[in-house]
Symmetry: C2
Subunit: 411 residues, 2 copies
DNA sequence: GGCCCTTATTATGGCCCCCATAATAAAGAT
DNA sequence: ATCTTTATTATGGGGGCCATAATAAGGGCC
């Protein structure tokens, strides 16, 4: 523990606790704040005053029920600042504009350019930012910054992209380049972690102290919340669930290994396995869809056929779900999280995959030695916007200290 | 973050930081403390005064080198308190008496009773404690308590044993029973976590913010240090590495599952596989040792034969190491720890097992995408005493706030 | 030995934090 | 119009840290 050099950190922490209380519990009178935080009335009144002065909180009404002097009711002010979030991990890029409550005010979507050159991506993000700046919903002076969820290995803190197999980028000072193009602060985080933050702050996991958030699409990654905080690991490289080994001497993976979960069970593997089975002549509704050429099959076709009960597609998707489920179950056994959130394009497009993973993790055939079967496991509440919203929320956290209840400062 | 109701927590934190500095860095003058903690001289002088008053620190000398007034040199006082630690996880039980610096003053060992009845175990611990109380090394008034490392699933905080397949205990209020028998505070933690704490506070991992400590014996477990703190999970059930699935439909495990790492690669599996191979008539130096009856073979014989190069024993041990190594590597890929510590009877008795696990984790055949191959992976520095010493250290941490640098109070 | 120089240690005042308690304000109730 | 009741503000106390200014206690030098 670091020494504390100034009693003012006490006030910072308490300010954060009050603000987070108001954000999560909604409007309340100051006496209720004092009760909930266990601070005395003079202290909590002073803190609310500061938050009002900073614009983060406002008085919305006075309640005059019951005898006694009426109470002034204060509310978290979501309009105190806004930020932009972009998610670069899907087949289409997503951009959002959110307020401090993570209400999504604007959404934009664009097909991912092919190839996704750094300059083309920056171009699109800059024009998105420009458009948002002129949105009627936004007072431009209240724009806190831009957050980007990116399918990449990042250097800790610097915003430097070490490598992204997904985008085929290597060694790109992306945050710096974006800051120049966009003219605001830029914060980067990888996609699974952005989603984990989103769900912890705004979504399905707001009560979870320890969370595994697993993202399943063309890759498989995991964001970890431990003790209520994002955990990134010693080199900021935690969560590479997709590159854990699940099949000895299995399929080659783009990371250079063999038998990685991603190579065996992510979107690419599901498509490949379905095409292979078709080419081996197995019966399936996909045969018609493909019109004689199995190479025309897309991943969407496979997961849709699976949800409609096509045996070939179902068995391919179920096999992937089994593998992913086993890997997630193992992670749960290691980490004993409060809950698990599943997200990503495959989780949202395939009911069968989601159900299979959940069933394998909760495996009720085993004795309840580990309380795995009682642990909640749900889909991301913010769906396919989770990555972008989480990245945008990251801006509020980093610049203003929100959501963690620590060190709140003026916008 | 909880609100802070009192500025005194600032002093508590700073007192902890100063004490931990002195413990880790050795004796130093107060001006050096001020420099290292970045506190001002008046503040750090006052803190040292308090620690001296509490008996946790003492002035050992004054240095009169160089010009200027000589400095008084202060030192962490390891004799301010002592505690007892017991490890119930091995083939023999181990008891230690340590001081605040974890210097081991006394060691006792006893063969594990068979069966290990609760009452027999309590009996032995109570007589051990009685003997230590009368040890000349110990001022009995300075005994802080007793810590126990136990191969069991524990309820969070209560000291209640939910179940221990190893000891064949179920639902035992062990801490309460021990407190009655021993007459001091009793703290329980499972064995891998006790070892992890030991290595983090006193051993090979003292610089590691994020640590995986893997214990390999008849069972396989993991203790996790995250952000410098022990992580136990939502239900205090984290770290069950031995019950992660590694072989689909594999060997039945005592947990009720199949193909768990523990069932496939822990001590029991190694012995079973060696005996099976012998019974199938494979050539091995173990055949002579066994004198015709493979059932006479013990685990020790197998690992010794393996280290001496016996092909059968080597191949059995190496196979176990491969599986364990893969599981550990996967955990490392998920968690990106600062380092990994391996401990437990098998790790210390088998050079081959240790080397195999290390080689698999660091697999240099793969591209260095994940920095796994550069991550240190070492044996527990305190060897087979680590569990008992860690449990004893737990007493100092819980009762006096040591080692974490937080909330230090008088002994 | 007395004086200067250097560094350690102590004293003082300022600002901030929280708390407890008491005073003041602003309603409904009677 | 007074009496409750509850909300809000004022005041003083104890504690934290800091910056700065004394004061102490050596060595070096003449």
């Amino acid at each position: 523990m670091e020494p504390i050099k100034d009693v003012q950190v006490v006030r910072q922490v308490n300010r954060g606790a009050v603000l987070e209380l108001l954000r999560r519990e909604g409007p309340m009178p100051r006496t209720a704040i004092a009760r909930a935080t266990k601070l005395t009335a003079p202290t909590s009144f002073a803190i609310v005053d500061e938050l009002v002065a900073a614009g983060l909180v406002r008085c919305v009404a006075t309640s005059r029920s019951s005898p006694g002097r009426p109470r002034a009711i204060f509310q978290f002010n979501p309009a105190a600042a806004y930020s932009l979030g972009v998610d670069l991990s899907g087949a289409s890029f997503v951009g959002v504009l959110i307020d401090l409550s993570a209400r999504v005010l604007e959404t934009r979507r664009v097909a991912r350019p092919n190839p996704p050159d750094v300059s083309a991506v920056i171009q699109w993000i800059a024009s998105f930012a420009q458009e948002m700046r002129s949105s009627p919903a936004l007072d431009p002076s209240k724009l806190a910054g831009l957050g980007v969820a990116i399918p990449a290995l990042l250097e800790a803190d610097s915003g430097h992209v070490i490598t992204s197999t997904n985008l085929n980028w290597h060694d790109v000072p992306f945050a710096r380049l974006l800051e120049e193009a966009v003219g605001t602060g830029v914060y980067l985080e990888n996609t699974p972690r952005s989603i984990a933050l989103c769900e912890r702050w705004f979504g399905a996991a707001s009560e979870a102290e320890h969370l595994l958030c697993i993202n399943i699409g063309m890759g498989i990654g995991m964001g970890l919340i431990i003790d209520g905080k994002l955990y990134v690991g010693d080199d900021a490289q935690s969560g590479e669930l997709g590159h854990t080994a699940v099949v000895p001497n299995g399929a080659p993976c783009r990371c250079g290994g063999r038998g990685c979960l991603e190579a065996e069970a992510a979107g690419g593997a599901i498509l490949r396995n379905a095409v292979d089975a078709l080419q081996r002549g197995m019966a399936s509704s996909l045969a018609e869809t493909a019109n004689g050429d199995p190479r025309r099959i897309t991943l969407d076709m496979v997961v849709n056929a699976a949800d409609e009960g096509d045996p070939l597609a179902s068995s391919v998707v179920r096999a992937a779900g089994q593998m992913i489920g086993t890997a997630v179950r193992n992670a749960v056994i290691l980490l004993n999280p409060t809950m698990v959130v599943l997200s990503g394009s495959l989780v949202h497009s395939s009911q069968l995959l989601f159900e299979t993973v959940r069933a394998v993790v909760q495996n009720r055939a085993l004795p309840p030695l580990h309380r795995v079967s009682a642990m909640p496991i749900v889909r991301a509440q913010l769906g396919l916007l989770a990555g972008a919203v989480g990245a945008a929320g990251l801006v509020h956290q980093r610049r203003m200290g929100l959501y963690d209840g620590t060190k709140v400062v003026a916008p």
